[in-house]
Amino acid sequence: MPTGSGWLSPAGSGRSLPGRGLLLLTVLVLLEGTVFRLGAASTPDVSGHDTKDHHKATAIGHNSTKKAFPVLDLDYGHIQTPFEISLWVLLASLMKLGFHLIPRLSGIVPESCLLIVVGLLVGGLIKIAGEKVPPVLDSRLFFLCLLPPIILDAGYFLPIRPFMENLGTILIFAVVGTLWNAFFIGGLLYAVCQIQTGNSSELNGLGLLPCLLFGSIISAVDPVAVLAVFEEIHINELLHILVFGESLLNDAVTVVLYHLFEEYSGVGTVTVMDGFLGIISFLVVALGGVLVGAIYGILAAFTSRFTSHTRVIEPLFVFVYSYIAYLSAEMFHLSGIMALIACGAVMRPYVEANISHKSHTTIKYFLKMWSSVSETLIFIFLGVATVDGPHFWNWTFVTVTVILCLVARVIGVVGLTYIINKFRIVKLTTKDQFIIAYGGLRGAIAFSLGFLLKEDHFPERNMFLTAIITVIFFTVFVQGMTIKPLVELLAVKKKQEAKRSINEEIHTQFLDHLLTGIEDICGHYGHHHWKDKLNRFNKKYVKKCLIAGERSKEPQLIAFYHKMEMKQAIQLVESGGGVKMPSAMPSTVSMQNIQPKKLPPPKTVERALPQLPKGREEEIRKILRSNLQRTRQRLHSYNRHTLVADPYEDGFDKFILKKQKIIELENKIKEMNNYLTVPAAPTDSPTMSRARLASDPQAFSVKPDSDSVPIIQVDLASPQSPDTVNVMDEFRRADQEENQGLMMRCPRGPSEPKKSEDTEGARDQQKLMRCLSDPGPSADEDEDEPFLP
């Protein structure tokens, strides 16, 4: 270890140098920003005066002539707001960039902490510059601009399955847990204030209702903070969804409590009737939010059904519908967060089936980008607001708040788990409870809610804000930084790698049906039963309405299989497989062109390769490559200029034509080859045959069936690399289907293809090629020209 670090250290410092440079740059940008902002308040006038004076001077100079045309003009006020916004976003992005360039830092400190520190620094700089710190974390800005992208990202990519399976637990934590926290903290704070009356006068006037209001603000776990920390610790799915789901769903509770207490703290009394109305209001807020979200989600899905001719605006529908859902919910003071979650979760399966693969990627990247920038901005703004805010530090209040937050959380989680565990099949262990309790981070939502309080209504606002900020800092810094080591120390189960294999998918499906079946046999309508009913309803009616074309009938397993295949193909191209194999085609081919239902039936027979003299093979490869490349280039230009006018079909037709030519050519070659080389003396071929075997994912069951043909033993010469063979191999494939009678089989029929590390690539290529080689019905017609004697 010491030697390792010694050896590494120069490299490490070398690597961190650009990081430092970047940091410096950002600070510079920042200063620039502050200077501009410094100008922001005063500049418009100053510069305006200057230019005006100047103009005046010239005007006076040429008294009778008209004003000269200003060649260069400075009008900062004109662009001030968007410019500053851009600067902030730039700062946030650069910070994010910088942190990931410094290798060790991000391993120790969570990003959220670093961002808050940056925010503190920026705020400090602005303050030193003698300027008024801009009210960056304005509640309007936060709730209308910064929060929605993060929540939409979370909602759209919500892992539905674990979420629904644990919905009961999540709801109990979110509703009962938050209520408990709010009342426990609020109540005890009030008690402390009563006791403390003697020595601190500030706490004297604090009534019960403001205390409860404060409790309800501070009790909600914050999705932004939780996401930021939990993404980094890679905890297992169950814990992640429990804490994260709680943070999402407690929004409704917070909203209701907040409005309830804010409303009545002015009046001063709450009757039982108000409490009752509060409960009803909670139901309305939560369910209404979900309903609004679901409606917009269905609308979005329905719209996406018709976008097949205007692919470019597909992603926009997803964003706009969700945002409108959020705004509509907020308009009625419903839970906007729940609306967004519902909207994203409802629309996703249908939208994904409708939109093109590219649009899907766009949506994914846009959401990730927006949410990560938003998140960065929120944390930076939190830091800035801390410096800016009018603070009122009351030791008793702040300390008691922090302690109460911790205590309430622990008691709440332990107590609720005790009850929940009675009903859960998979019980929550002590470790799980600890992580759930410890993961209860508070964040910017609490701050923004506190910020929304009106000072004349709540004289304690500043004290509240200070306490809220302290709690946020405590949870984000202390808990956020220690949770990772604790997770490792306790050996909490980590997340499995996200990639799901086809086998797991098969067994998930199988298990679902099995459990449903067993439940039916038991005569017990458990949640498997209802899920099955829902699935069937979905398949029968909803999908037909919301998904266009054939895909609505596609079962989940097949859809998964296609997705997996697609992913592999794309991965291959991205990893540079396209260099070897002269087709970077898939980058211009989208899901639509591949026609998922038209997958070629699996080839269960091995095919043999005719021998090719090395020189000839090289020649053929050259021809193939140049042909394919030309097609690709042409497609590329198509793509660039006529994006909307569905370039795929035109381009693809050309591709098909090309391909047919190639196949013809190929056939001729094969013809010759058959003459030339079939009777050739056997030479060694292990590399070749392995490559070939492995290159075909379908070809491993070669049990000679009754209808199979006699095996012609053909040995393969020229141990070429698998790639060289693949191209031709693949093009020949279609022909072979019609010519089973003349099929040549590999030496040993019932042999399985093996996949080793070096052949994996070949397999992938094969998949890709299969996608390509099956462009649709039109290709097949021309392929049955006779080509063998």
């Binding site: 067994h507 099995l514 079962p555 097949i558 299989y561 045959s689 399985e752 093996k754």
Partner: protein, 250 residues
């Protein structure tokens, strides 16, 4: 508990409870269902199962029913299939879907896991030769997709093939060109579903089996009760399971 003790057939339940790990209450509920399915006869036949209306649209219905008549699932080292089953067999098969207790050690968990996976494996391995061959695997996928018409049939093969290839690559790593991957053995099956956490998935709530009993008894009591019995029943499972696994060990 007083009500339970006066329940009919109490002594015979003790034996069953020890064997399967179910609580008396659960057994009583299942017994009721058994009688309902068999129309108060002593044994259940296949056609009884086939008459269950909800099961009719289950794509893997045949396999589920088959599992109940498969001797391998009775924890008794038997093979082959039977024509009719008694309540005990019914209960033993059901016991594969019991959730694991929280107090299990890692070893016990592993045992449960093996047991549940073995059940799945047996469902796939129809000819009981210790391997799931490609044919068998294809059959599984075909059944899964059997509700989706011709489209499913076509794709099922390629999915099964891809899946099989994946198994081969996971379990064998590198194979020589002339080697043949015969099929998935149980060891490979374990390895394949390593990250699958079957022990937390293949579970069913056996309480509140039907609404009548749900209101009669408090579920909480039953749960505590059952967990107590799970502790009791662990030794018996441990005794049985090595025997079950033994013939497939090699």
């Amino acid at each position: 508990m007083g009500a339970l003790q006066s329940a009919p057939g109490q002594p015979e339940y003790t034996d069953l409870a020890e064997k399967t790990g179910f609580s008396f209450e659960q057994i009583a509920v299942l017994h009721k269902r058994f009688k309902q399915l068999s129309h108060n006869e002593e044994t259940l036949r296949r056609d009884h199962f086939e008459k269950i209306p909800d099961l009719a649209c289950n794509p893997i219905r045949a396999q589920i029913i088959g599992a109940f008549f498969d001797k391998r699932n009775y924890r008794q080292n038997g093979e082959g299939s039977v024509e009719e089953i008694g309540f005990e067999e019914f209960l033993v098969v059901m016991s594969h879907f019991r959730p694991p207790s929280m107090h299990f050690t890692e070893e016990q968990r592993e045992g449960i896991r093996r047991e549940k996976l073995r059940f799945l494996f047996n469902m796939h391995d129809t000819d009981n030769d210790g391997t799931i061959t490609l044919e068998e695997y294809r059959h599984v996928v075909e059944e899964l997709l059997s509700r989706s018409g011709a489209l499913g049939k076509e794709t099922a093969k390629s999915i099964a093939d891809a899946a099989m290839l994946e198994v081969a690559s996971i379990s064998m790593g590198h194979m020589e060109p002339d080697e043949f991957y015969e099929g998935i053995t149980f060891e490979h099956f374990l390895k394949l579903l390593d990250g699958f956490e079957i022990e937390s998935k293949m579970n069913i709530r056996f309480l509140n089996m039907d609404t009548a009993t749900m209101f009669k008894s408090k579920p909480m009591d039953g749960n505590e009760f059952s967990s107590a019995y799970i502790k009791f029943s662990i030794p018996s499972i441990q005794q049985v399971s090595p025997k079950v696994n033994a013939p497939f060990r090699e």
